[in-house]
């Protein structure tokens, strides 16, 4: 009988705290893949250098950093005093490619709802597909940049500029990259949910990220931070990501399991808040965006 019939989907005005449609999102995995492909191809369409741009940007930034912060300002590139100092160029480069992933993903994700309102206003697909696709397509750029970093590093090693020590910490690298994804996506979806109502935040993002970069050990080593401010400084969730990344790569630098775990804690917290906000906003954002 119709009265007893079970429906597959029920839409009501109420919503659960976590209504993420994980299963549905998985069904749309092909769409994620296509979005990634579209982002990537349309980004470099009608450019002469194509994906080379993904390399030129961090390379030039690193050159500038090496010159300004390294040679002119003479800021230290050591995370811990007294240890072996890795070449400035490598130091800035790894920081830059991490930061560039963090900031591009955050910016792109924060634009999820506003940037896709034309599509999202006409057809339903799990909204989470878009930030996931963004995180992945930026990860491809990150991968290319990381590869370039490895090549340059190898050149340094061969020419005797530095040496490589294989440490078990290197196994940590995927975990650190994951943390980076979680953190940037988390902040991004929080902002995307809030900007549907408050456009002020869209202004804040690019400006805020600039300031944030100076509050993170990208252009200088951690050693520069006075001991008494270190606790506050380490609460910046980007700091443990970057320092641990360097520590895992070079085998020297700063690693503190306590701060690292706090960094993870903050990342997960931000991510969860983001998901809750996102699942709340995605239902009705079309009415306000």
């Amino acid at each position: 009988m119709a009265e007893l019939q079970k429906f597959k989907t029920v839409i009501t005005s109420k919503h659960k705290l976590f209504d993420l449609h994980i299963k549905e999102t998985w069904q749309y995995r092909d769409l994620i893949f296509l979005f990634v492909k579209r982002d990537f191809t349309s980004k470099y369409k009608q450019t002469i250098l194509g994906p080379l741009w993904a390399l030129i940007q961090p390379l030039l930034t690193t050159v500038v950093f090496t010159f300004i912060f390294g040679s002119l300002a003479g800021l230290t590139t050591a995370d811990v005093a007294g240890e072996y100092v890795i070449p400035g160029f490598l130091f800035y480069m790894i920081g830059n490619i991490c930061w560039s992933y963090f900031s591009t993903t955050l910016t792109a994700t924060s634009n999820t709802f506003i940037g896709n309102r034309a599509t999202m206003g006409k057809v339903y697909y799990p909204r989470l597909v878009t930030p996931i696709a963004t995180a992945f397509s930026d990860l491809i750029s990150f991968g290319i940049q990381f590869l370039m970093f490895l090549i340059i590093w190898a050149v340094y090693v061969i020419s005797g500029g530095t040496s490589i020590t294989i440490t078990p910490m290197m196994l940590f690298i995927p975990l650190i990259i994951l943390q980076m994804i979680v953190l940037s996506t988390g902040f991004g979806i929080i902002l995307s949910s809030l900007t549907t109502k408050y456009r002020d935040l869209a202004m804040l993002v690019s400006f805020g990220l600039q300031l944030w970069q100076y509050a993170s050990p990208i252009a200088y080593g951690l050693q520069l931070i006075p001991q008494k401010y270190l606790t506050i400084y380490m609460l910046n969730p980007v700091t443990p990501v970057v320092t641990t990344f360097r520590y895992a790569m070079f085998g020297v630098g700063y690693f503190d399991i306590f701060y690292y775990l706090i960094g993870w804690g903050i990342s997960i917290l931000v991510f969860l808040i983001g998901l809750i906000l996102f699942s709340r906003i995605e239902r009705t954002f079309m009415d306000t965006v």
Binding site: S13, R38, T41, T119, G121, Y124, K197, Y198, M286
Partner: protein
């Protein structure tokens, strides 16, 4: 009893009027702090009434209905009746304020053709893109890509970026993707309004076929009554956010047209109406038109004749003035014309004339029509010389209280019943 696919229970959707979401963090914080301190809201406009009240609008106000598997339901109503809101709720673009929508199967919504089409990608790539957005997996699209391309009639250009497509090709391709979806429920919002007639017909046939053969359920919103008649087997009429009719297509359309023609006024002032050309209305100008003996221009074809008065102001001496009414159906298709049997009068400069006329409209089938008036004379070769031609289309409605024979259907049989066929004799 066939399976229910869609059940809508007391669904309401409320929108805030005025600046929706156009608020800044500062305003919001000020409002919040005022609320905490129990003071007056500082962001409120001076003189505005209570901020939270009187600024809401119910786009849907308690709509309930059920749709069974394989049904093709047309949803009609005026602009702002809530049709599109309803479709948005069913396709989960936004959530209802109150009520429940239960669905039994995948929903493919086509509220627009070519959603997600990227101009830089080729036709083929866009088929994958659009298909995926509409919920198909890559495997499904792989299986159907050839059917889709064939249906779209653009095989030749399939590997060209769609930014070089004509708008017709674009629409054909986009629609083909949607037509090949496997979803159990299809939602369409006037997407067929584009594309040429032949392709429209092809789409409607395709929709009807999948609905018949695969039990696909279709919800279709349109202002084009012909496509509704063509596709749907049930009609829901919405008005001001509420369901006011649910049932038979013809009845529903008549119901809708009845409320659509709020009224058919019986008198028009045509003096100041636009003319298509400057010369028209210079020598002789129509001042008024009136349907006689009627409060509203609704005519029973079996009993009544169209009686009307045309008033003109003559500005020149003209001979053999005639009049013509060019009649269109409500869809804008020209139906035919009526002309006066002989010249009405010869006009003298600066005189006003009232002409009383009568026309037989019994050959028109039931429905709503419009006409424009043309006052003219003929030259030596019987060519039409227009003197005046106000652009205002005057509506009237034809009803039949004593129908004979088949039910009229403007799409299948046309708007005119030319004559009744007489049987002379028959032999066995």
């Amino acid at each position: 009893m066939s399976e229910l696919m869609l059940k809508i229970e007391n669904v309401k959707k409320e929108y805030k009027l005025g600046q929706i979401g156009g608020t800044t963090l500062r305003d919001e914080l000020q409002r919040l702090s005022a609320k905490i301190r129990k003071k007056e809201d500082p962001t409120r406009k001076v003189g505005a009434k209570n901020y939270n009240q009187g600024e809401k609008f119910m786009a849907l106000n308690g709509v309930s209905f059920e749709v069974k598997k394989g049904e093709r339901v047309g949803i009609i109503g005026h602009n702002g009746a809530g049709k599109s809101t309803l479709l948005k709720l069913i396709s989960r673009i936004t959530a209802p304020t109150k009520g429940t929508i239960s669905l039994n199967g995948r929903v493919a919504s086509m509220l627009e053709v070519g959603t997600g089409f990227h101009p830089e990608l080729t036709g083929r790539e866009n088929v994958y893109m659009n298909g995926a957005i509409l919920g198909m997996t890559k495997k499904e699209i792989d299986r159907k890509i050839d059917d889709i391309i064939d249906f779209s009639e653009v095989r030749q250009f399939i590997d060209t970026p769609v930014k070089r497509y004509s708008s017709g090709m674009y629409v054909k391709l986009a629609f083909s993707v949607a037509a090949h979806l496997d979803s159990e429920i299809m939602i369409m919002d006037e997407v067929l309004a584009v594309g040429d007639m032949a392709f429209q017909q092809k789409c409607l046939n395709k929709m009807r076929d999948v609905s018949n053969s695969e039990g696909r359920t279709i919800l279709y919103v349109s202002h084009n009554m012909n496509t509704i008649r063509n596709l749907c087997e049930r009609v829901i009429v919405l008005s001001k956010g509420q369901k006011i009719f649910d049932g038979d297509v013809e009845e529903g359309i008549n119901y809708y047209l009845g409320i659509a023609a709020d009224q058919f006024p019986n008198k028009y002032n045509l003096y100041n109406v636009d003319r298509p050309h400057d010369f028209q209305g210079k020598k002789i100008r129509i001042t008024e038109f009136e349907f006689l003996e009627k409060n509203a221009a609704i005519y029973d074809k079996s009993r009544e004749k169209l009686k009307f008065r045309i008033s003109v102001k003559s500005k020149d001496n003209l001979s053999a003035i005639r009049v013509l009414l060019a009649i269109s159906s409500i869809n804008g298709d020209r139906v035919g014309y009526m002309q006066c049997q002989e010249a009405m009068f010869n006009s003298e400069k600066d005189k006003n004339y009232d002409v009383y006329l009568e026309a037989d409209i019994s050959k028109l089938i039931c429905g709503k029509y419009r006409f424009i008036i043309d006052v003219f004379s003929l030259d030596d070769n019987n060519n039409h010389l227009s003197y005046d031609h106000p652009t205002l289309e005057i509506p009237f409605s034809v009803v039949d209280t004593a129908p004979v024979g088949i039910k009229p259907n403007i799409t299948r049989w046309g708007a005119v019943e030319i004559s009744k066929i007489k049987t002379i004799e028959y032999k066995v």
